[in-house]
C-alpha cells in the first residue's frame, strides 16, 4: 500500500497576515469561532429585547428604566408604546431564531466540530465556508438596521404573516420590512452554502476507519440538520422574495383583495418553519448525546436507534407543518392528517429521551458543568415535548393556539432545550477552541441559578396561557378575565430579570477564561472523539497526517481500555489493524 499522502500543515503556508489568519480566514475553526462571537452578540440583543417585553407585560404602563434613551417613536414618557412593543416581540423572535440559536448550533458547531470529529483537515470548500460566515453577518446587520430606519422595525411577528407584513400601510413598518426580506434571502444563501459544505465534507472526507456508524451522534445530527437546511431554507427564500415583491413592485401574491392567498404565505413559511425548528434542536440533541456518554462513562444507550431517531425526526418533520396552522381556517381533513403526523413525531424524540436516561443509568456519573447542562437539557426538553403533545391534538390546540401556553412550549424546547445544550457545548469544546478551561465553579453556579430562574420564568406561562392570556398582546390588564393572573405575570417578569442577570455570569466566565482560564490539558474530559488527539487549541490544518479511526465513538468503560475508563477512536491498540482507505493518488501528494 502506498504511504499516506502528506497533507497541508502550517509549514506549507506562507506566513499569513492578521487579516488572512483571523478575519478573512478559511479555517473552519476560526470561522466557527467568528460565528460564536457574532451569535453571542445577537443572543444578547435578543435578551435585551426580551427584558423590555417582560417589563411591559409585568408592569404595563410603568416607565421603562433607562427608557429615556429611546426615541419618542418607541417610548412616550418612558412608557413602551404599543407600536414599539410589537416590534420588540417580532424582533426578539427573529433575532433569537435566525441569528442566535441557529448560528450558535450550526454555524459554530457544524463548522468547528465536523472536520475535527471525522478526522479531516478542513471543510470540502473552505472559501465557500468563509463566504457563508460573512453573508450571515451581513444578514444580521441588515436585520439590525431595521431598528434604526424611519418607521422602526418590522412588527408582524417573527412569522411575518401576510398580508400584514406585505402592506406597510397596515403594519406601519416601511423600510425595515423590506430589509427583513433581504436579510432572510442573504441568510438563506449563507445557510445553504454552509450546509452544502457540511454534507459534502461528511460524505466524502471521513478519515479511514470512520465508517458511517462510527461517527459520533453530534456529527450525525449535524449531517441530518444540514440536509434539512439545504432543502428548507430555499423555500423561505422564495417566500421572502414574493413578500418583497408584494412590498415593492406591487405584486399581490398574498393580498386577498387582488386574488392572492394569505394562507399561501403561512403554508410556505411553515413548510420551512417546521424543519427549521428541527434544525434548532437536532444539533443540540447530538452534542448532548456526546456529553452525556462522556459524563456517564458509558456508551450511548442504543446508538443505532439514536441515529434512526434523528433520521425519523427529520423525515417526519416535513409533513407536520400544518400543526402551526390549526386555527387558520384550513381544511379540517388536512388538519387531522397533520395531527396524526405530529403525534407520531413524538415517538422518535421520546426514544432519544429514554436512551439518554438509559445511558446515565448506573453510569459512573461525573457532574461536570457540561454534564449538568446536558441533564438540564434532557429534563427541560422533555417538558417542552410534553406540552407539544397537548398542542398536537387539534381540539386541544384550538383554545391554546396563540396563547402563552405556546410561548411556554417553544421556550422550553428552545431555551430549556437548545440553549441549555449550548451551555453544555460551549464549555465542553472551549478548551479545543481556546486552549483554556472555563471556570467550573462559575459554571456550576451559572447552571443552578439559570435552571431555577428559568423554570420560574417559563413554567407559569403554561398556567397563564391556559388561563387565556394571548401572545403578543401589549397589556393583559385591559382584559377583565386576565386581571386575576397579573400577579403571575409580575412573578414571571421578576424571574426573567433575574434569569437575564445570571447570564452575565456565563458571559464573564466565557470572556475572562479566554485569557485567565486554566490552561487546558490535551483531553480534559477524558473523551473519545478524534478532536482530542490534537493539542489545545487545535492547530491550523488539524493533523499533519490524516489519522486512522479504530473504533466507535463511545467506548467508555471498555475492557480493552485497561485501567482507563475511556478508549479514544484514534488510539491504536496492539490488536487493531489499520483501516484500508479508498485508493489514493499514485505517487502521493
Amino acid at each position: 500500500m502506498t504511504t499516506v499522502a502528506h497533507t497541508p500543515t502550517e509549514a506549507h503556508h506562507a506566513p499569513m497576515s492578521f487579516w488572512r489568519k483571523y478575519i478573512f480566514s478559511t479555517d473552519h475553526k476560526i470561522i466557527g469561532i467568528q460565528f460564536l462571537f457574532v451569535s453571542l452578540f445577537f443572543l444578547l440583543v435578543g435578551g435585551l429585547l426580551a427584558m423590555q417585553i417582560r417589563w411591559q407585560l409585568g408592569f404595563p404602563g410603568k416607565p421603562l428604566p433607562g427608557g429615556g434613551i429611546l426615541p419618542e417613536s418607541m417610548v412616550s414618557g418612558g412608557v413602551i408604546l404599543p407600536e414599539y412593543y410589537i416590534q420588540l416581540v417580532t424582533m426578539h423572535g427573529t433575532f433569537m431564531v435566525f441569528f442566535a440559536i441557529m448560528p450558535l448550533l450550526v454555524g459554530v458547531y457544524a463548522n468547528f466540530l465536523i472536520p475535527l470529529k471525522i478526522g479531516t483537515h478542513d471543510m470540502a470548500f473552505p472559501r465557500i465556508n468563509m463566504w457563508s460566515f460573512w453573508l450571515a453577518l451581513l444578514a444580521g446587520l441588515i436585520m439590525l438596521a431595521g431598528f434604526f430606519v424611519p418607521d422602526g422595525a418590522p412588527r408582524a411577528g417573527w412569522t411575518m404573516y401576510a398580508p400584514l407584513s406585505a402592506r406597510p400601510d397596515l403594519s406601519g413598518a416601511t423600510i425595515s420590512q423590506k430589509l427583513w426580506s433581504i436579510s432572510i434571502v442573504v441568510l438563506g444563501l449563507s445557510s445553504v452554502m454552509g450546509s452544502v459544505n457540511y454534507i459534502t465534507t461528511i460524505i466524502n472526507h471521513r478519515a479511514p476507519g470512520m465508517h458511517w456508524f462510527r461517527m459520533p451522534l453530534s456529527v450525525w445530527a449535524l449531517f441530518i440538520t444540514a440536509i434539512l437546511a439545504v432543502l428548507a431554507l430555499p423555500v423561505l427564500q422564495g417566500a421572502a422574495i414574493m413578500l418583497l415583491f408584494d412590498q415593492t413592485i406591487g405584486t399581490h401574491f398574498f393580498d386577498p383583495g387582488a386574488g392572492g392567498q394569505p394562507l399561501l404565505w403561512q403554508h410556505l413559511f411553515w413548510f420551512f418553519g417546521h424543519p427549521e425548528v428541527y434544525i434548532l434542536i437536532l444539533p443540540a440533541m447530538g452534542m448532548v448525546s456526546d456529553i452525556i456518554a462522556n459524563g456517564s462513562r458509558k456508551p450511548i444507550f442504543g446508538y443505532h436507534s439514536m441515529v434512526f431517531a434523528i433520521i425519523g425526526i427529520a423525515f417526519l418533520g416535513w409533513i407536520v407543518w400544518g400543526h402551526h396552522m390549526f386555527m387558520s381556517g384550513m381544511n379540517p381533513t388536512l388538519g387531522s392528517t397533520f395531527m396524526v403526523s405530529t403525534l407520531l413525531i413524538a415517538v422518535p424524540s421520546a426514544i432519544k429521551v429514554f436512551n439518554w436516561m438509559g445511558t446515565m443509568w448506573r453510569g459512573n456519573l461525573r457532574f461536570h458543568v457540561p454534564m449538568l447542562n446536558a441533564i438540564g437539557f434532557v429534563s427541560m426538553f422533555t417538558i417542552g415535548g410534553l406540552s407539544g403533545i397537548f398542542m398536537a391534538a387539534t381540539p386541544v390546540d384550538i383554545p391554546l393556539h396563540d396563547t402563552q401556553f405556546i410561548v411556554a412550549h417553544l421556550h422550553y424546547v428552545l431555551f430549556g432545550g437548545s440553549l441549555f445544550a449550548l451551555f453544555a457545548a460551549i464549555p465542553y469544546w472551549y478548551p479545543k477552541m481556546f486552549g483554556r478551561m472555563m471556570s467550573e465553579r462559575i459554571g456550576k453556579l451559572h447552571f443552578f441559578l439559570t435552571f431555577i430562574f428559568y423554570n420560574m420564568t417559563f413554567f407559569p406561562m403554561h398556567i397563564i396561557g391556559m388561563g387565556g392570556q394571548m401572545r403578543r398582546i401589549y397589556d393583559p390588564t385591559i382584559y377583565d378575565f386576565l386581571k386575576p393572573q397579573q400577579p403571575l405575570n409580575v412573578f414571571i417578569s421578576y424571574s426573567a430579570f433575574a434569569l437575564f442577570a445570571v447570564q452575565f455570569l456565563f458571559l464573564f466566565n466565557f470572556l475572562w477564561s479566554l485569557k485567565r482560564g486554566k490552561k487546558a490539558p490535551q483531553n480534559p474530559w477524558e473523551d473519545n472523539g478524534m478532536e482530542w488527539s490534537l493539542p489545545n487549541p487545535a492547530p491550523h490544518g488539524n493533523w499533519d497526517k490524516t489519522p486512522n479511526v479504530y473504533r466507535g465513538p463511545y467506548e467508555f468503560s471498555a475492557p480493552e481500555a485497561g485501567d482507563k475508563d475511556y478508549l479514544p477512536q484514534y488510539l491504536k491498540l496492539p490488536t487493531d489493524r489499520d483501516p484500508v482507505p479508498a485508493p489514493l493518488p499514485a505517487g502521493g501528494h
Partner: protein, 239 residues
Amino acid sequence: MQTTTMTDAMRPPVPAEPGAGVYSNKLGMWVFLASDVMFFTALIGSYIVLRFGMGSAWARPGAVLNVPLTGLNTFLLICSSVSMVKAYAAIADGKKYFLRKVPGKTLQDGGLKFWLLVTIICGAGFVGVQVVEYIKLVGHGFTPTGYREGSLLAEHALADPVKYGAGVAGMYGSTFFTMTGFHGFHVTCGVISMLYLYFTKVLPEKYSPQDYRGIEVIGLYWHFVDLVWIILFTIVYLI
C-alpha cells in the same frame, strides 16, 4: 458504473473513507441543485396554487405571451445544453482545441473551446431574447401588477376579458415575472460563470482529461437551468 473516470486528480489528496464515489465538487453541486429545486418549488408551486385557485379566469395561453418567440428561445436553450454536454465530452476525450480538421470528414471537429463558446453564445442569446421579450411585454402593458392602464393589453382585456383573464391579470403578471425573472437570473449567473472559466481555465488549456471537474460541475448547473426552463415553458406559456 460511472460516467466520469475517477482520475487521480479527482480523488481527495488525503486518505479517506469511500464516500459518494464522486469527487467533492460534483457532490457539492448536486446538493446545491437539490436546494435550487426547493427554491423553484416555492416559486412554481405558488404559481400552481394561485392559478388553481383562479380556475378558468386565467388568461388563455398565447394571448399575452409570445409563444413562437419563446419556443425559439427554448430551442436555443436546449441547443446550449447539447453544446454543453458536447464540451464535456470533448474535454473528456482530451480535445482542448477550438476546431480541428478531421481527415475524411467535411465538418471540422469541435473541441472544448468551440463547444463551450457555443454554449456561452446560446446562453447569452437566451438572456438577450428574454430581455427583448420583457421589454416588448412591458411596452404592451404587461407588468408584474397586471395590465397597465391605457396600454394595448388593457384595451384588449376590455374587449375580450375572458381571453385576456382581465380580473386576474395582476396574478398573471406577478407569477410570470417572478418565475421567469429568477430563472433568467440563474441563466445569467451561469453565463457569467462560464465566461469566467472560459478566460481563466479553458483558453489557457488548464483542463485536461485527467482533470476537467470545473466543466462537469458547471455543466450540471447549466443542464439544471435548462431542465427548469423545460418545466417553466410548458406550464407558463403553453397551459
